[in-house]
């Protein structure tokens, strides 16, 4: 049993803390309790020195240098660690590109006229993506172009005559050369994932450096999957524009039918937004104020970026949304959905609805989602929630009265549009000028998850606070964005308190030129975790403008509270793109001094990027500032 002090250390979000206390009082087991029960964790796993890749195992190598010094097959610590890291990258790549492939199939069916409820929402983006891929645009119907784009997307998954186009067409020409020279251009997204599984099999690749290079190539395939996910979602559901909304558990309404969308893919969540509006009447007939759709994790980010749907919580506190007792249904697709939700939901009267054949959870209600019957399925799901609302009408609920304003929706297109109000002919110029002048010292991308090993949001908020004061422009995605938004970092009213003078002036000038009545928010929300592609796109645009490669820019990235293997693959492609990349939790690599050295030092000679692993947010921020300053010096900027 945990004492009060422990509980207060679990999160820095006051709304989440209220719900943790409630769970404790009710005896509901949460992720933090399960972590307590799991510790101390196995040191072999923590250092990457446990291998289960064959049936002779499990093998563990002694990290203190005693026997056993190798696995049964003879694999050294270096090989074991590199193989494990590669498989994590492959898993992350599979997830992001699986999400993109799902969108490609939806787009293809739409282009063939098989779907009533999906259409091209952003023709400009469709044309821009097609042009990038050398797909003819002129004089062709939208659906014809969309058909070719979807076919090109699906073709990028397997080996073919061309490399992965969503990799080679999205980076700088200089980066294409670097990647080509190093043999890091992926041949096919699925091909790279599959090759990682092959080379990490019993008795295949036993050269740690060779393994790490393959991992990097797979991570470039991950960038392709992410970029494709963003492109196709923007075409089908619209490219985000700035939009005002709010975040934290206080967005749940006691008198409304509350439905949370949780997971990742807008194929389902975007339809939910429209169907919820149609179903308002039914909800009112059941005595509710209406239907209140709220977001969790990246499904939440997708609908927030495009429709301003508020976010109720993120990542590690997903169970806490249910603890309010006011959530009538939680609709999930895939990725980051803790199986424990079902148990908590059982205690609180929430129905968890799984919708994807590949992601079912025992104890949840499964309703197979198909694009052909998207609205009908969404209606069925919403009716479950309305029914639950009727049942909970007399039960007391505990909704923390805590929420914060959020300005979201900063796609690259939206950022460029905002900048064009300062310089219509040359929109990037004001950004570049301010970087050169030092008003913007550099750019930091915050991405990734919340980890149970860190007091929730602590690393993100401590680091962002320090970097903003030093005039670093911050963009954020995924649950990193979720974390910062719940703490007011996306509220323009906080620019004065949070930002250094240079950054303050830039954000204010852009806000003024766009008639926003105030500055841009301190941190720009770029979207979900696949939308890390947007950060890459921004880097590439700036690099091309300056005529340098991405590894020369004063741009850094941080997954300050990483959990998912997706964060590992994203981190790896940030390094492949040439960025100093911070990870705020321990990666399971320290069992191999060689792998550790390659990731944190040697890889710099190859791609220009490297990992910074530091668990202390204060010194991490300092290291990122140093990296930014080194890059500025390299460009001859003061």
């Amino acid at each position: 049993m945990s004492d009060g002090k422990d509980i207060l250390n679990r999160s820095t979000d006051p709304a989440v803390l209220q719900m943790i206390a409630k769970a404790e009082k009710m005896g509901v087991t949460t992720v933090w309790d399960r972590y307590d029960a799991m510790t101390p964790q196995c040191g072999f796993g923590e250092t990457g020195l446990c291998c289960r890749h064959c049936l002779q195992g499990p093998c563990r190598i002694n990290p203190f240098g005693d026997e056993p010094k190798t696995g049964i097959c003879g694999a050294s610590a270096d090989v074991m660690v590199a193989r494990g890291l590669d498989r994590a990258i492959a898993a992350g790549t599979a997830a992001h590109s699986g999400h993109a492939k799902h969108l490609a199939h939806t787009m293809l069916k739409m282009a063939e006229g098989k779907l009533r409820e999906y259409m091209v929402k952003d023709v400009e983006k469709l044309k821009a993506v097609a042009a990038r891929l050398n797909i003819p645009v002129k004089g062709r119907k939208e659906n014809e172009i969309a058909f070719d784009v979807a076919k090109a997307a699906l073709a990028d998954f397997h080996e073919k005559d061309t490399p992965v186009l969503w990799a080679t067409t999205v980076v700088t020409p200089g980066r294409v050369k670097v990647l080509t020279d190093l043999g890091l251009v992926p041949k096919g997204i699925d091909h790279e994932i599959s090759e990682i599984m092959h080379r990490t099999l019993y008795g295949v690749d036993a050269d740690a450096v060779n393994l790490l290079l393959a991992g990097l190539r797979c991570s470039v395939a991950d960038l392709a999957g992410c970029y494709m996910g963003t492109d196709l979602a923007d075409i089908l559901f619209g490219t985000p524009k700035p939009i005002v909304t709010e975040a934290n558990l206080g967005v749940i309404k006691a008198d409304a039918v509350n439905i949370a969308v949780h997971g990742h893919n807008p194929v389902l969540s975007d339809v939910m937004v429209f169907v919820a509006k149609e179903m308002e009447k039914e909800a009112k007939a059941a005595g509710a104020l209406g239907i209140n759709l709220v977001g969790i994790c990246c499904a939440g980010n997708e609908v927030m970026m495009r429709h301003g749907i508020p976010a109720c919580t993120h990542s590690i506190s997903q169970e806490m949304a249910i603890m309010t007792g006011a959530l009538d249904a939680m609709v999930v697709d895939y990725q980051c959905i803790m199986p424990s939700l079902v148990t908590v939901a059982e205690c609180m009267g929430t129905t968890i609805v799984t919708t994807m054949d590949m992601c079912k959870i025992s104890g949840a209600t499964h309703m197979d989602f198909s694009e052909e019957a998207a609205s009908e399925k969404a209606k069925e799901i919403i009716r479950i929630a309305i029914k639950n609302f009727s049942k909970r009408a007399k039960r007391p609920v505990d909704i923390p009265n805590i929420k914060t304003p959020v300005v979201s929706g900063f796609s690259v297109e939206a950022i460029v549009a905002a900048l064009s109000k300062l310089d219509a002919k040359d929109p990037l110029k004001p950004l570049i000028d301010n970087i050169k002048a030092g008003n913007i010292r550099g750019v930091c991308l915050f991405a990734g998850c919340n980890s149970v090993k860190v007091p929730q949001d602590r690393n993100f908020t401590v680091m962002a606070r320090k970097l903003l004061k030093k005039n670093v422009l911050i963009v954020a995605t995924g649950c990193g964005a979720g974390s910062l938004m719940r703490h007011g970092f996306m509220n323009p009213a906080n620019v004065d308190e949070l930002c250094g003078d240079g950054l303050k002036a830039v954000l204010t000038a852009i806000g003024k030129a766009n008639n926003l009545g105030g500055p841009l928010p301190p941190v720009l929300h770029m979207g979900s975790c696949v939308d890390n592609s947007r950060a890459v796109a921004l880097c590439v645009a700036v690099a091309n403008y300056l005529g340098v490669d991405t590894d020369k820019l004063p741009v850094v990235a941080s997954a300050a509270e990483a959990v998912s293997e997706k964060a590992v693959s994203i981190g790896a492609y940030a390094v492949a793109a040439g960025l100093p990349t911070h990870v705020g939790v321990m990666l399971p690599v320290l069992g191999s001094p060689l792998v550790t050295r390659v990731l944190t030092e040697k890889v710099k000679d190859l791609t220009g990027g490297y990992f910074i692993v530091d668990l202390d947010p204060d010194s991490s921020a300092d290291k990122l500032l140093n990296a930014i300053d080194a890059r500025r010096a390299g460009l001859g900027l003061g």
């Binding site: 101390p40 196995c42 040191g43 072999f44 923590e46 250092t47 203190f64 321990m586 069992g591 001094p593």
Partner: protein
């Protein structure tokens, strides 16, 4: 004076995960932190061993701190003594690395540190409430109790067995 606690092994519980090994080495490091400890010099050493008795038994073995300790009698340099808590310890300053203690130990649980050239063994983690191995053991195969309490539990189990054998 209250009776000292000992580290006892519940022989049916060990799954052979070696978590005790890691926890022990980390506790006997300078940093007391795994990620730093693995690169420390001299290398931190674990003092608890997990033996395999095929086909399925895994047995943690560690210094029993014998009442009539052969190592203490055999130590030629007078490095081995017993604390008032009953813990048999080796004074590194006096140890000459002759390994006589290793030779006479009936459990084979005295290690040779080849960097410091000193003998080392379980010290029951004097800085901790319970030894690190006991705290880390995920199946509670290792327990830290007085001999009386441990045998009391064993007697209870045996008594229950006898009763169930009677069909009651």
């Amino acid at each position: 004076m209250s009776k000292p606690k000992e580290i006892f092994v519940r022989l049916d519980r060990c799954v052979g995960c070696h978590t005790c090994n890691i926890a022990c080495a980390v506790e006997h490091s300078k940093s007391k932190n795994l990620f730093e400890a693995i690169s420390e010099q001299p290398t931190p050493k674990n003092r608890v061993y997990v033996e395999w008795v095929p086909p399925e038994h895994k047995v943690p073995v560690l210094c029993r701190h014998c009442e009539d300790a052969p190592c203490m009698h055999a130590c030629i340099s007078g490095a081995i003594s017993r604390t008032k808590e009953g813990v048999v310890i080796t004074n590194s300053d006096k140890c000459i690395g002759c390994w006589t203690c290793v030779m006479v130990c009936p459990y084979g649980v005295i290690g040779r540190h080849m960097e410091t050239r000193k003998a080392y063994r379980c010290d029951r983690c004097p800085d901790l409430q319970a030894p690190a191995c006991v705290d880390a053991c995920p199946t509670q195969a290792l327990v830290y109790r007085t001999a009386d309490a441990f045998s009391g539990d064993v007697r209870q189990d045996a008594a229950r067995e006898m009763i169930s054998g009677e069909g009651r």
